[in-house]
Symmetry: C2
Subunit: 187 residues, 2 copies
Amino acid sequence: MTRRSEMLELAILGLLHDSPMHGYELRKQVHRVLGTVRAMSYGTLYPRLRLLVERGLIVEHDTPVSGRRARITYAVTSAGQQRFQSLLTGAGPNAWEDDAFDVHFAFFGRADRAVRLRILEGRRARLEERLAMYRANRPAEGDTRDGYAVELYRHGLESAERDVRWLTGLIETERSAGHRGVAQHEE
Amino acid sequence: MTRRSEMLELAILGLLHDSPMHGYELRKQVHRVLGTVRAMSYGTLYPRLRLLVERGLIVEHDTPVSGRRARITYAVTSAGQQRFQSLLTGAGPNAWEDDAFDVHFAFFGRADRAVRLRILEGRRARLEERLAMYRANRPAEGDTRDGYAVELYRHGLESAERDVRWLTGLIETERSAGHRGVAQHEE
DNA sequence: GTACGATATATCGGGTCGATATATCCGGGT
DNA sequence: ACCCGGATATATCGACCCGATATATCGTAC
């Protein structure tokens, strides 16, 4: 179980929880929720769906609409629900990485505050490490890098700093007002 | 030759042009230039270096420092220089993608203005497509997404918009003042 | 009524990552 | 002098992911 496949499993289980659907639709949802960030290819999705069926985390409802091509609708089982919760609640350093963080964050509504805070703080720490490395090789006098490489450096640094501020804001909101403020749209 | 391997080839040839070095150092430089973004693993780097040697794009200078472990220093050949230039100058849609764009941008100092503008504009168009998709599924009334998913959406949209503005600034600078302004640090 | 694009599932080859193995060098502690 | 840990350095392997491609059906526009 690699980092990536764990993240994909979380995304699949989380999305199927909202409503059962078939593979093609599922992939579009991953696109939507993760906002066009590297979504899963079909070559990854379909084999993984079969694997999750084998493990009993999801089940396939065949939907044989007369004459239509087979459309396999998937739904989470209770084992799948548990697996989802344990992936979300037990999130470790894997969840501090770019893609994995986004998936976890998208499902924050189903995690309690302690878990949310741990993931947010882990993510921030991860970005601060990155920031420290960035700053450690700030272009110095006599650097061979030309203006474009320096501009790329500046832009990357700025983005990372902004993300840290974003996380800090989220953490403060969680600490002070609980889930209000961030989760205004929550039902 | 996939997108990714083409990008890695450009990075390797471009970095070795600045100064010959061995694999371990090369990987650190990729980290530095690309700013911690997904750098190459050793399992990718070493086989690829051997491939580039086979193709005559780089050569290995064995540096047998008495008693020391073999350290293979690589340097670009003239064929490698040409390959680098053709990869940079002939950059197509592959170069509009995240990682590939960064690598190309880092080597803008060795591309002429027409090429720089084409890549910048291609990249901007790519981001605007992404933006359009984002906006197309803006969370509407009655959306099942909770506050966190909406916040993730908002943050992603904002980042993409900022990147478009960044590119627009760069394009304007290229168009008006040539390479000044952006490339102030150029030697 | 047919051409086209979207929907839908499936598979394969090439290639990448992450872990691991091996080995040397250097500095710090004792 | 000795050892230890961490950085330097090369190499390989298995797990697995992406992108392309094949196949087939549906809606709709002309």
